[in-house]
Every structure is written in C-alpha cells, then in structure tokens.
Symmetry: D2
Subunit: 348 residues, 4 copies
C-alpha cells in the first residue's frame, strides 16, 4: 500500500474486457479485431491519425519508441533521473544498436528548454566524434511527481526540432499528468511537438499492457522489426489490445488517474501536518516525496506499513504512490498511523 | 481455426487464476506470492530444484535462455528450420551481445547427435576466428511437428557436454511433446542433459506467459540483468505467474496438450483419406503438414477456411494446428469441407 | 613461405611512400594531402567518382562496408565459406547492429545468380519475421582461389538489385582477381553492379592498409560514425593513405598481383606432377589447394617447411599461397623438396 | 603545428625499426618474433609479468581494454570529459555489448577518490536496475593536460577495488604523464592498483600503434575474440609490434615525451607573458589550455597559424599541443607571432 501504483490490481473495465475477449478463436499476432482497432482508437483519442501497438512493459515501450526515433548513432537527451537511465539497465541503448543517453540536470525532475539549448550548444560541431543529437526524451509526469505544462513541452520541442531532433514522451503516468493539466491528450502531445509516446496503461488499472503511439508517420518504418526482434510481438495480442481499448473508452483512464491524483493530494496534505514533515516536490500526479520524522516511520512500521527510506539523493525521504483504487479510508488510516493518532488527522 | 494454436482462447483454469489474482494490492516486480511460488512449483514439476521466471513471449524466453547459456562470443547450433533462426529477427544474437547461429540440416525437423558431432569436428581448432561452440538448441516438438525421444536428446546432450557446450530446449510446445512421449517432464529435460528450457504456456491455454526454467544453476547469474534490459521484468508479475501455476496444477497443461494432440491425429487421419492427400511428417504433437489436392483447397476456401499454401520449401503444402480447445466436431466439419462431403468422412 | 600472402614483406614502392610521408607535420584524422587525394585516386582508377577511405584490416573493411549497405535488420547473403562467416568472429553482425548472414552453397567457392535467386524465393514474404534481404557479399577471388567472371558478377548483381539488395565485394585479393580476369577495375566492379568494395592492399605488398571504396553514393552517409565508433579513424592517417596511393600508382598493385598469380600457377603445375598429387580448384589467383601424398608432406617437413594439413572439409589437403615477392627459385626449391628431388622438377 | 601531437611525424627509432622489420617473410597474425617479444618487453618495462598486444588506434585500445574489464551489464565510471565519452562515438559501449558510462565531475580534468566514493554510494543497491559498477577509467594525462599523482591513482583504485571494480587507465599520453611524475612505469600503474592500460605510442613518435597492457591476468580471457571481432588482429602484425618495441627500448618513449613536455612548459611560460593571456590548467604534460587576447589570435592567423578557438565550455580559449619533435625555435617563432614581436619574447 502506497509503495507503488504497480502493486494495484486491474480495474473492472479492463478485467471485463479481457473476459469478453476470451471467446473462440481470433487471429494471432495482431490480426484480431481489438488489435486492428488500436490505430483508430488512439487516433480518435489524440485527434490525429496515429499508429499504435501494444507492448508488455513500459521499458519495452521506451526502448522501441526511442529506437524508432534515432539511428544507431544518435544521442538521446534526457533528465538525469529519467527512468530510461536509472532503471532500464541499458535497454534503450542496446535495442537501438548503440545510442547514447546524454543526462541533463533540471529542477523538480524536469528539463527546461534552456538547459537543452545550452547543452546542444556545447556539442562539438559537424563531426561524428560522439553520438549525434537525435531525440529528447521527457517523462510525463516526471520521476518526482511533477508535470510539464503544455508550454514547457512546446518550448522543449521547439529547441529539439530546430536541431533536427525528435521528441519522445515517456508517459508511464501519462493519464495522471493529463488530468493534472486539465487539457486534451492532443494538447499535451503532438500539438506541443511530441513525435512519439510511450503510453502507460499498466500502472493505471491495466494488467500488463502499455503502448507505443507514433504521431510522426516517418517513425513507423522499423516498428515491425523492432517488435519481432525484441520479443514484443504477442501471439495472443487480443488480450493486450483490449486492455488499452478499455482504458480509452468512456474516459476510464482519466477516471482512474483522477482518483489516484486526488488521493495523493489528500495524503500529502494530511502528512504535511505532522510536525517535522516536509513535502519535497509539488504533488501534481499520484506520487508524493516527503521527509518524515523518525517517529512517524516507526509508527508506520508498527502499523504494518513498510515504507523504504530513500537515502541516495538529498534528504532522506519517502516516496508514496497512490493508485486508481486507493480509497480515502486507506489514506486516512495510513495518515493516522503515521501521525500516531486514532484517525484524528483528517485529510481535506 | 487450424491456422495456429495461437488463435485459441485462454483455458478456464488460467482465466480463473487471473481473476482470483485480481484482489487487492500485491508486491510488484515478482515479490508477489504467485511469482515467489514459481521456483517451487517448477521444481516439483521437474523433480529437481530449478529457477524459473515468467516472460511475455516465447521469443523472449529463447533470447534470454540462450543469452544465459553463452558468452557474447558463442555459437549456437540449431536446426536450420529453428524458430530462433527463421522467425525471431535476430533476437537471440542481439540480446546475447553478438553470438552466431550455426544451422544444421536434419530429417523431420530434428538434429541428430551425429550431425552435431560432425559439425563440431569441422570447426577450426583452438582459435577465436569464429564464434566458439557454446550451446545446442533443440525445439521440442520440432518445427514440423515431430518429437525428440529421450534417447535422442540424451545423445545430443552427450555430444554437447563433451564439447563443453550447454543444451537449450525451445519448448514452445513442450507439453504437446511430453504427452506424445509419455514420459515425465524430468525424463525429457535435465535427465536427458537439458540445461535450460523455454517453457511454452501461451499456445497451450495460457494468455501471454511463457517461462525460462534453469536446470543448471550456474546459468542463473545474469538473469536479473537480462530481464531488466530487455523489458521482461513485469511490474504486475502476479498476472503472468498465476497462468503458469494454473497450468502446472492438476496436470492442466498435459490435459490441454493431450486434447490438441488427439485432434491433430484425428485430423491427419481423416484428411489423409482424401485422394491425393499426403501427410509429410509423422504427427507427433498438434501440427500436421500435408499436401492436399487443389480441389480440397478450393472447397475449404468456399467453406470459409483460409489455409495458406506453403511454397517456400519442398512440395507446396498446408500446415494445420490444433489446440487445447479443438473439438472433434470442428475437426469433422473441417474434414468434410476439405473432402467435399457432408460430414461423411469420419475420423477414427 | 607459401603459408599465406600475409607473411610477405612490404613492397619497395609502399615502403618508399611511407618514408617520403615522414616529413614534418601533417593534419591528422584524414586532413593530410595523401588522405585527401584518396577519393580522386580511386575515382581515376575506377573511372567513376567514388568515395574511399583507409582502414587497418580487411575485417574492418568488410564490417564497415557491409554496415553501410544495410540497416540493422538486414540479411547478408554470402557463400558458406565466406571469410566474413568463418574468420571474423561475428564482426559484421556486431558492427552493423544485428544483421544476419545467410549462407549459401556454391561450387568452387562461388555463388551463382541462380542459387541466390532460389534462396530469395524461399524467403517468407512481406514480414519482419527474420532479417530482410539487404546485401549480397561475394569474395573476389574466392576463398578457394577462383575468380568470378564479369558476367557472373553482373548476373548476381542483377538478381540482387531486382530484390532491392546491394552488392558488396570482399576484395581482399582484388588485384589478384583483376589480373586473372584481364579486364579493367571498373569492369569487374561497378560496371558489373558492385555497390561497395573492400579493397585489399595489405596482402598485395602493403603494410597495414586496406580501403573501403563506395561506388553507390547513397551508402556514404554513416561512414564517419562507423569509422569513429569502431576505432578506424586513424590520427596519423597519412601513413595508411600513402600505402594505397603507392599501389594505385604505375600499376604497382597489378604488377605485384601478376607475380603472385604467375608463381601460383608455376607452383601448381609443378606440384601436380608429383604422383598422387591432385589440385582441387582452378588456380585463378595466388592460392592453390592441393592433395599431396603423405611422403611429400614428410619431405617438406624435413626440408623445414611446415604446411598445415586441412582436414575440416573434403579430402585432407594443403593450401599454398604465393605473394608479390615470391621468386621462381623459391617455388622451385619448394617443389623440389616436395618431390624429393634435387631441383629436378622444373616448373613450366 | 601545435594543433595536436597527432600531426607529428614518426621518430627515427620507430621508422628504423619498421625498415628493419621489412625483410623476408614473417609469420602473420602475431606469430612473428617482434609480436612474440611484446609480452616480455612490456613485462620488463612494468617490472611484472603482463600480457600486451598492439592495436591500431587509441580508441580501439580503450574499447578492447574496457570490454575485457567488464561484463556486458557493467557501468564504467569516468570523468565527464573523458575521451571515451566525448570522442569515440559509443565505441566502448558497443564493443562491450551494452555497458554504460557514468560521468563524474572533477576539477582540472581529473576524478577524485571522494567523488567516486560518493557516486557509488548513490547507486541503488542490490539490483539489476541499472548497470553494475564494473570499472573506473582514468585518463593519464587528463584531457586538460594535468596528471594524476601515484597517490591519487592509488586512492581511486582503493575505492574501486573495495567495490569489486577494476581500474583502467587510458594512457594515450602515458609517457608524457610518466616523465611529468618522475616515477617508474610500475609505480603509476599496477603498483597504484591499475588493472589494465591503454598504452599510447602513436602520439609519442609512433606511426599507428598503441597497445593494450593487461596487469590483472584474469582479464585476458576474451582478448582473442575481441581483437578478431573488432578488426584488430593485424595480419602483418610485425609492423605494429616493432613500433612498440622501438619506443620501449633505450627509453625512447621517455625521451620523446620529455621533449614534448619541456616544449609545452616553454610555450606556456612565454605565452603567459602576453598581456591578457591566462593559462587555464597546470601544464603537466604536453598540452596547454590558454585564454589569449583577440589581437594575439589575429596575429597568429596572419602568421599562418590556425588555432581553433574552443568555445564549448568555460572561457573561450585555445589548446596547443607540443610533440616529440617540437623544437625550441618553433616555439619561439610561434610565441613571437602571437606576441606581435620579432622574436623578442624569449621563452625561459
């Protein structure tokens, strides 16, 4: 509980879609009706013709999306805390055949257009000495739970496109960011210059399905090869595709994300009342990063929670994550445990 | 229908297990109870302590299993029709960091110990000129629907081990082969010298889950890295693990495979009665390869079936595949359509 | 002696050119006069504007040339005895980011257009299942010392180009083949459809320099990256470039090759007189493959020669190679030793 | 002139050795006397049994040395300005099969043990999330012309070895650093904990030969494969090996380096007298980094020099490099041109 949104179960609409798909034979390897529907469903969702296909994990989505956006000699510019750098064990570099990640600093987990511009200015010109700037990858929401505004994305994209680079969005928590921003899916992606997206569904009520969504048609060319080579061409693809369709239909993805975000705000507000507590970053999606007094940690442990103190960077702190199915009661119980009170700390 | 076992749905036990798993939170990335149970369940099934973990596709299973069994300079000896050569777009070579596949001929889709021995004898000695013999990979059942006997596997393994090589089994249709052989899972794997197995579940009633099963403990070392790097560390792993457990429990895997095999035999027997029909390989699992007269093809097309004529190698022929849920009626209807009769051809 | 043309020293013109280059400063990384001259010198030699650059070994030339000619998902069709398959330890596949070699049989070490055509016909269509046919690589002269005629090359190229493939020539012994054919360098390369060439100089009187010669301009694009990444951008490039220029000037390359070829013919003719001797392939360049009686081997060993019996394929036999500086006397002494006579066997 | 030490010619001893090697046949691929002598010569030089082999470029040396020191899942810690990061286009990562470079800051172009220690402390523990710390790579002398002391190297090595990591030294200017330090080759390498060395010869009077020197015997295992696969197994290896032997013999390497270093000091001292000039880093080898007034740049350009203003990082400045054959007169002329005087600025 609160350890990650990955610990949550599958939402009812996704499970119902899987059950409904489990009837009779269906063509394999994407020939089924649900898989064939994906392009249209995502195109409608994003208000633009796109190509989309399912993958099994977010790491696979990122590694394929970024491979599509660069030659094997490209440099991928990203924040130094980006998941592709810290947690994917070289998958992007490896699947792409030899690209390099260029790590940039940035406040609150995000890149700025200015940081990107000055990094590009430092690059030795006109040669093949190092990898060539090829893609900017931004994580929406970021690794510290903040959100890029449309204007920030557009500014980054403008710098990237000026330099002939593509723009990738790691949207592992895309829906959480979207409802935080309150704009359309189109506004925060291709209208702001994004060329290719890793669309996260698993953390947001899905089972084991994310998607690559390609806005820039020129990037589609090698998708078939990359999916095959890297074990991402699912034989019974229908069971992945229906998960994605179920989340896109009737705004289920947004509903799920909205609950998670609201619970994170509630949790952050309540925990921040504990003397000595300090929230480290604006709570803009479903994650909070917070310094808590040692007594609070002990009380949580006694109550059966097992938050892990993060000591690698900055002040030792905790990360708490809420999910599509986090209830207000669960938040309140957790807060009460941390505060050492019997449910008397009330979230707003 | 009959196009592939991949077109079939998920069997009831697997679907029930997924539904049962969909309760509350569970630790992610393999910390859940079902994932933690996998080693024990496979150890019990194989009568030996093994390590096992789920992957999303058979290609991913093969690429990880073979990467574990070789350095990046290794040669992987396999049949020229092996799936890893013909259908995985270089995934094995790529994930392993640069190995080579050495293709060997062999009757009925299978390697012989003698072919392997003479291929190894041709290798230039004592140098780093080419890749070093590292693994033999055999497909059980083979790509033409035949099965290696325990004795054949043991003979191949003996040659491999003599030469310091490991033995990998691509068991995409492992259960079909097992029930064909009528021996234990242990007998046809590690007792016959197999070091590492790609265990197929998806084709046999699963949804999207296969497994890597490691018999030789020394091969486990880099598994964590390979899973991470290659997008195969599932956050909500419980939903894959329960599929595997459901198939291992109560011999569901064998039951599923037994039906598929029986239907294949029934289909082959009946189709072979059609004048001009000729079955190309012994029907030992759930696949049949058969030459049919053009009139039969036309009648099938008129009845709504769309078998694809395979013209690449040898006589133009068809491949038909049965599944865990293929019914005798479905076989009979298909045969009747092919034979141009109204259900009058009866399977044995 | 006769073990390989790699054991020979550097020819006087090459050594003189290196010494002449050793004066004062010169721009590094290819900015020197000799390196800048390469494109023009090779363009003149091949009667067509080409791009050319030096590399340190033939393996490096092959791996860069083939990487330029294919995406990372390409299949490279070559003879099963091709040096890129047997002796380069996966360099081509590795530098290119994941291509596959497709091995074809062929008499006398060579491919035929017909073999290529039928191999391409076997390929599963329209998919990304395996690597896509991208390049045909032929070795001129072949690994058994034979030569492709212009007509044979043109026929192979026609099939390749029909299928959208490029044509690569591994010309480790290009000059030897050229003087054997008696046509122009242009005739046997781009006029016959060759798109990119590994031009061999080291074996033919050079020190440590071969070249990549690009006939098809579209293949140049990634050369800078590939040279950098793979340690083939020489800082003091002048010392490699002058070797190539020295061989191109005044037909030194052809003169060197002509001597080697003549000595091979002389050697083959004389050895074939020994009772029990049998020449296995037409002697069309500077290599001979010959079965010799055991007594001859012993006499050679007693005389201090150390020919290695090749037992891997076919009849146990020897390979003898002559070089730019092989003298008639050396041939005669060798033959006399093999024949057990005191210089009484005379070459024609 | 002064643009790089790569623009310099080959020193007399190296040229003489090449000429002396050019006699008759010699075994290829390292079987010649000079190549066989390398292990002994380097062992004597380093006062310890080592394995050593020649490569054609420093980039090749680094990529092979680092590949030997890590699995394909390793992280290589280096200074953010390291040549392997900025100038080798991903060669290390690519040849090693997927490692990652971890970039660290550091004053004067160098790492400190403390920086390394704190970087390692930040690493997430116990998992395969990212690459595993495997090697520290330090450049001696650094990319800004400074030198690590023995104590600094030993301190870095101690931290590395504590963490199970190996230590690599990129010694492209090893001899320059060595004579700057005034200690033995052993003291500054293995006695200070270095496990493997890229030994630079090309910049120091060689033609096209550097070496990999392996102090830690366990790192030798895959060298044969790596050299083959990556085009670094030279057929006429004698011509590379004799270059290395010539530099090791009679302290030629040190003599060459001593001249280069002395000329750099003379140049730095004299240029620093120009009003507005500012030397940016201690001049400890043969490179100087200096801010010059615009008028000086113009005067140099008028005098035919073409220094390139470096604007990427920090104050716009120039890099000047001296070589084994730089004369005092050349330095004085250059300084006079920069100072706008007729030889009246005198170096000390």
């Amino acid at each position: 509980m609160f350890v990650s949104d990955n610990v949550s179960r599958v939402c009812p609409e996704v499970m119902a879609a899987i059950e409904a798909a489990n009837v009779g034979d269906a063509p394999s390897y994407g020939g089924d009706a649900a898989s064939l529907e994906l392009d249209r469903a995502f195109s409608s969702y994003f208000e633009k013709p796109v190509a989309a296909f399912p993958v099994g994990t977010g790491s696979a989505a990122n590694a394929i999306a970024l491979s599509l956006a660069t030659t094997r000699f490209g440099a991928i510019y990203c924040h130094q805390s980006a998941h592709i750098e810290t947690t994917e064990c070289g998958g992007v570099e490896s699947w792409s055949g030899g690209t390099k990640l260029v790590l940039l600093p940035g406040d609150q987990g995000g890149l700025s257009a200015e940081t990107l511009r000055s990094a590009l200015a430092r690059l030795p010109r006109g040669g093949a000495q190092s990898a060539t700037p090829a893609v900017v990858s931004i994580t929406q929401g970021t690794e510290v739970g903040t959100v890029y505004s449309r204007e920030q994305i557009a500014a980054i994209s403008a710098v990237a496109h000026e330099h002939g680079m593509k723009v990738h969005m790691d949207g592992a928590r895309f829906s959480n960011a979207l409802v935080g921003l309150g704009c359309s899916a189109a506004d925060t992606t291709w209208r702001a210059g994004v060329d290719i997206l890793s669309y996260g569904a698993t953390k947001n009520g899905g089972m084991s399905a994310d998607a690559v969504v390609i806005f820039e048609p020129a990037l589609k060319e090698q998708a078939g090869f990359l999916r095959r080579r890297n074990g991402q061409l699912y034989s019974k693809m229908r069971y992945l595709s229906v998960q994605l369709l179920a989340l896109l239909r009737n705004n289920v993805a947004e509903r799920n994300a909205r609950n998670a975000n609201a619970m994170a705000k509630r949790l952050a507000h309540a925990l921040s009342q504990i003397p000595g507590a300090r929230v480290l970053h604006p709570v803009e999606i479903n994650e909070i990063f917070i310094v808590l007094p040692e007594a609070a940690r002990q009380r949580l442990a006694e109550a059966g929670y097992t938050p892990r103190l993060r000591t690698a960077l900055g002040d030792p702190h905790f990360r708490f994550v809420t999910a599509w199915d986090t209830s207000g009661e669960a938040v309140d119980r957790f807060v009460a445990a941390a505060a050492g009170e019997k449910q008397t700390v009330r979230a707003s």
